[in-house]
Amino acid sequence: MHEYSIVEALVDRVAAEARARHATAVHRLSVRIGELSGVDVGLLTTAFAIFRDRTICESADLEVQSVPARWECPDCGGVVGPGTMLRCVRCGAPARLAAGDEIVLDRIEMEVA
């Protein structure tokens, strides 16, 4: 359950930003989690609810945007369906993961004095 370490890194990053901006509270975090990132959104949410206690994120909501996996052909741009052979049906090139591996902090809403 590495989601705890992800949350730890997230809260550390947010705390650094909050310190730099002299924030008094953090209200909301927006993160993007890809389907093939290896992070489970449910576990991440649970881990955040536990870990945020006694941190600057104590009263913060975690907004998670899930990103579906999207494979495409690097040569012709054709879409390759997930669950199929990861090769372009038109030109045979190995597919490239165009979206779905994100573990990204997008936005922090905080209160500054």
Partner: protein
């Protein structure tokens, strides 16, 4: 807005960050990778389920690469057993005891290097914690990711754990000496599952017990070494069984 009216009340602001949450780990991994590159050490992140044969593969690798300088860092929740086995096999090895952590991260590897003679090595094997989920998320600074998958684990493991296999430069299908006892397991079915989760499915079949397939694995390692940590070159050409 309170900054305009001057009442002194706090103001709510939105800060756009758009940064990888594991950016810190990636910085440390890049630092490790630079160290390895400078010293010409090929770092191999070896992952796989508990009991998939990671340690046995390394023991067999030590027999096959006698004369080369091999080192290993063995991630282990609680014991020194794997590192002890590797030392007996002639590999300079130490454990990274992770406690309850289910994976290694770049910082753990970096700290372990401080008290480990890694600079003198040809290959540094980082035997990750046995787990098909969490280790896939953390870059350690390795040149290549290798995933051990034993034939006893079942044909559909790549489909159940796509992220792990997506990150693999090479899959070692291990314990093939057991295939005669496993009538329901076909290597072709494992290969087909790999092709659904790896754009360039690359695998080798090995038995650490009989030595079957080991020359191809050793040749693959040698190619990685020659290409100095360029996984895209090491795992080409194309799909199917790796042809070193």
């Amino acid at each position: 807005m309170c900054d305009t009216c001057g009442c002194g009340d706090p103001e709510r602001v939105a800060v756009d960050v758009h940064e990888k949450i594991l950016a810190g780990n990636e910085r440390t991994a890049a630092h490790n990778r630079e160290h390895f590159r400078e010293r010409g050490v090929v770092a191999v992140n070896l992952m796989g389920s508990p009991g998939s044969g990671k340690t046995a593969v390394l023991e067999a690798t030590a027999r096959g690469l006698a004369g080369q300088r091999l080192g290993a860092l063995a991630g282990d929740l609680a014991t020194d057993h794997d590192a002890e086995r590797l030392r007996i096999a002639g590999i300079v090895a130490r454990s990274i005891t992770t406690g309850s952590a289910c994976h290694l991260d770049a910082g753990m590897v970096h700290r372990a290097l401080h008290s480990f003679p890694w600079r003198e090595l040809d290959y540094l094997f980082i035997e990750n914690v046995g787990n098909l989920v969490c280790p896939a998320v953390y870059d350690l600074g390795q040149a290549v990711n290798v995933v051990a998958l034993s034939v006893t684990e079942g044909e559909d493991k790549p489909l159940k754990y796509p992220v792990m296999f997506l990150k693999a430069d090479l899959v070692l299908i291990t314990k093939i000496d057991l295939l005669p006892h496993l009538p329901d397991i076909r290597v072709e079915a494992i290969a087909e599952a790999l092709a659904r989760v790896m754009p360039r499915p690359t695998y080798l079949t090995v038995s650490a017990r009989t030595g079957a397939g080991l020359p191809a694995w050793l040749a693959w390692l040698a190619r990685v070494r020659e290409s100095r940590a360029a996984p895209a070159v090491a795992s080409s050409p194309g799909s199917g069984p790796a042809h070193p």
